[in-house]
């Protein structure tokens, strides 16, 4: 079991012939992801890595191959358009890796996806990996291992750091999911947590948040009300100066809202242990999870 996709999911890669798209498409193929098609306008008819047919449009790719999910590597100015193209072609799960997508574009994409019942992960995210089964995105698979811990995070490399520590401690993962650091994202903590709650394989959770917004506060309430499994959290940016953008567009602390202290307080109030350092996540998980 996994969330949002699985070993059998047929995947389309948009921007498959670009520098990043081709590199990561190869890496996904190596891991066993079932990539059935690629899209690059003007490159229709080519074959990628000797086996993946390339199409000019997502509609052609879906019609010919039955692709169910898409991973997007197109440049920021074209990313929102690519998301809509995938949705219009009948894709139901879209992962947008692209960083730097204008927020206004995402505001306009959201109702388009809602009307078509499409789930978006990202933008500006590392995607997800279901260890031992499939990968839709750019996470390094050398650090993952199949198991029972779900990982959901707003970060990229910080997620890798935590997953690496879990694996080294012998704690495998059910699904590792990066939701992205932008202000407007398709799948938020609540969506991910709801999916993990329904996943029988996931028996513990690590939530990695960061400053900005109130997603962690709302996640804390949701976990308290709906999740029966042990959860440990970590919040990055507790020492960030207010009003400064810390790389992620979402990571701006202003006016006292969205600080790490607020988030840690909300999590603690919901009975969720918060690790002060990444290295404390595994010990905290062991404290509350007998199987760890």
């Amino acid at each position: 079991m996994a969330i949002f996709c699985g070993a059998g999911t047929k995947v389309l890669v948009q921007g498959i012939t670009g520098r990043d798209g081709s590199f990561h498409a190869k890496s996904m193929l190596d891991y066993g992801t079932r990539i059935v098609a690629g899209v690059t306008p003007g490159k229709g008819g080519q074959t990628f890595a000797d086996k993946v047919p390339v199409f000019d449009t997502a509609a052609e790719a879906v019609a010919a191959t039955g692709a169910e999910a898409s991973v997007i590597f197109v440049p920021p100015a074209a990313a929102a358009g690519a998301v809509c193209e995938a949705a219009d072609a009948g894709i139901k799960f879209v992962v947008c890796i692209t960083e730097g997508v204008p927020v206004r574009d995402m505001l306009k994409v959201m109702p388009y996806l809602q009307e078509r019942g499409v789930r978006l992960l990202g933008p500006n995210c590392p995607g997800l990996v279901v260890p031992g089964q499939t990968k839709l995105g750019i996470m390094p698979t050398s650090i993952v291992k199949p198991g029972a811990v779900g990982v959901v995070s707003r970060s990229g490399t910080l997620t890798y750091e935590v997953v690496h520590q879990l694996t080294q401690a012998g704690l495998g993962q059910s699904t590792c999911l990066g939701i992205g650091g932008d202000p407007v994202i398709g799948t938020d903590f609540l969506d991910a947590l709801a999916a993990f709650a329904d996943d029988a394989q996931t028996r513990a959770l690590v939530l990695i948040g960061e400053i900005g917004g109130d997603a962690e506060e709302r996640a804390a309430q949701f976990i308290r009300a709906n999740l029966k499994i042990p959860v440990v959290a970590f919040i990055a940016g507790r020492t960030a100066p207010p009003g400064k953008r810390m790389g992620h567009a979402g990571a701006i602390v202003s006016g006292g809202a969205g600080t790490a202290a607020d988030k840690e307080k909300a999590l603690a109030a919901a009975g969720i242990p918060v690790a002060a350092r990444p290295v404390e996540i595994v010990p905290k998980l062991r404290e509350i999870w007998r199987d760890a």
């Binding site: 505001l107 490399t157 709302r218 990055a236 020492t239």
Partner: protein
């Protein structure tokens, strides 16, 4: 990117909001000339990229040209929360019968633009939100249709307590503000206050816009709005090099790949009692050019006593990064020790490369931070 009030006023004016005329001066003499042309009384307003100008004495009512000379002289050069005032805006003073707050921003929760408005205008809206949340009206806007007439009028009526003349002007202002917000690719657009004169005329007498950095490329005209004087020299160099960088006050220079890990590294430096000199995300690249640029920006800070690399090699290979660091250190004159933590893909190869150098290797984040602090005058805590 933040822009000045007078720049935001221009954008609002282009979108049809009723913005009074205003002129910018860099000297007291020029301010007097503008005031004479506009006619006193005027307001003289400091143009700085921070809030709280009024409280800091940066906004003054000037009934006479002598007042303008005196007040502009005092405000120019003033320091407001670390920002030096280089320009003042001179604008006709208006009599105020009522003040409102009108704002547009992005609601992360509903993933929609959201209108925020209040009849408690002219004061800090965050303060109103804390002390009197019932005075704040919020309404999500469906970007497929924009702010519809009846929606805008409903907000106007609620704000104006039944005064239809005011309600209609507020509604029109909100619709124009929404169009300006979306058209400008803003992350925040705010009029505080929107006032009514005793004669019933609505005026947007203050303006604030934050622009979405991700959208700057499709607005080439915004580059001209950037206040290079107001930007820290190192932050400017980093921006031009495509690095995500924030200058801080400590002595530990940090180079990290990924924003989340970079923040977690800063946090860890402080956990052990140190102070980071900066936030810097070098991104996924192992390109030596980028490493050289990042190092030179950090080394320009005289406070830096040690440099800490924290790299998680995922897709990026650690040996590539190590080669980039070694190459960079050859090309730069480096006067401080460098601690390097590389974990992930090909970390063994990376460690072999670093073995022949003066770079201090570390295996974990915690070990790297502790080693870095030991190389400074800071006394580490939480050992």
């Amino acid at each position: 990117m933040n822009i000045h009030e007078y720049q935001a006023r221009d954008i609002f004016r282009r979108h049809g909001l009723p913005v009074p005329e205003g002129r910018v001066a860099t000297t007291a003499a020029a301010a007097v000339e503008h005031a004479a042309a506009l006619g006193v009384p005027v307001m003289v307003k400091a143009q700085v990229l921070t809030g709280g100008r009024g409280k800091a004495g940066g906004v003054k009512f000037c009934p006479t040209l002598d007042d303008v000379r005196r007040q502009a002289g005092a405000i120019l050069g003033m320091d407001i929360k670390g920002h030096r005032v280089g320009q003042v805006l001179v604008t006709p003073a208006a009599d105020i019968a009522a003040e409102f707050y009108l704002g547009m921003l992005v609601d992360r929760r509903t993933r929609r633009p959201i209108l925020i408005a209040s009849a408690a205008g002219g004061v800090d809206i965050e303060e109103v939100a804390r002390t009197a949340p019932e005075k704040i009206i919020q309404r999500q806007i469906d970007p497929r249709y924009g702010l519809l007439d009846h929606e805008a009028l409903a907000v106007g009526l609620a704000l104006a307590a039944g005064d239809l003349g005011r309600a209609r002007q507020l509604a029109a202002a909100l619709q124009k503000l929404y169009v300006a917000f979306m058209g400008a690719d803003a992350s925040l657009a705010e009029v505080n206050p929107f006032i009514f004169t005793p004669q019933g005329q609505g005026l947007a007498i203050d303006a604030k816009i934050n622009l979405d950095d991700n959208a700057l490329e499709r607005h080439p005209e915004y580059e001209a709005l950037r206040d290079l004087e107001a930007e820290d020299a190192s932050e400017r160099a980093a921006r031009e090099a495509g690095l995500s960088f924030v200058k801080l006050d400590g002595n530990v220079g940090c180079l990290v790949n990924g924003a989340g890990l970079a923040m977690a590294t800063m946090d860890l430096v402080q956990y052990y009692g140190g102070m980071p000199a900066n936030f810097l995300d070098i991104g996924g690249s192992s390109n030596p050019e980028k490493v050289v640029k990042a190092l030179s920006i950090i080394l320009a800070d005289a406070n830096v006593e040690v440099i800490l690399f924290n790299i998680f090699g995922g897709i990026t290979r650690c040996d590539d990064v190590a080669a980039g660091i070694i190459e960079a250190t050859r090309r730069l004159d480096i006067r401080v020790p460098i601690v390097v933590r590389l974990t992930g893909t090909n970390e063994q190869e990376a460690r072999r490369l670093l073995a022949g150098t003066s770079l201090v290797p570390a295996e974990t984040m915690d070990e790297a931070v502790k080693k870095a602090l030991e190389l400074t005058a800071t006394k580490p805590k939480n050992k």
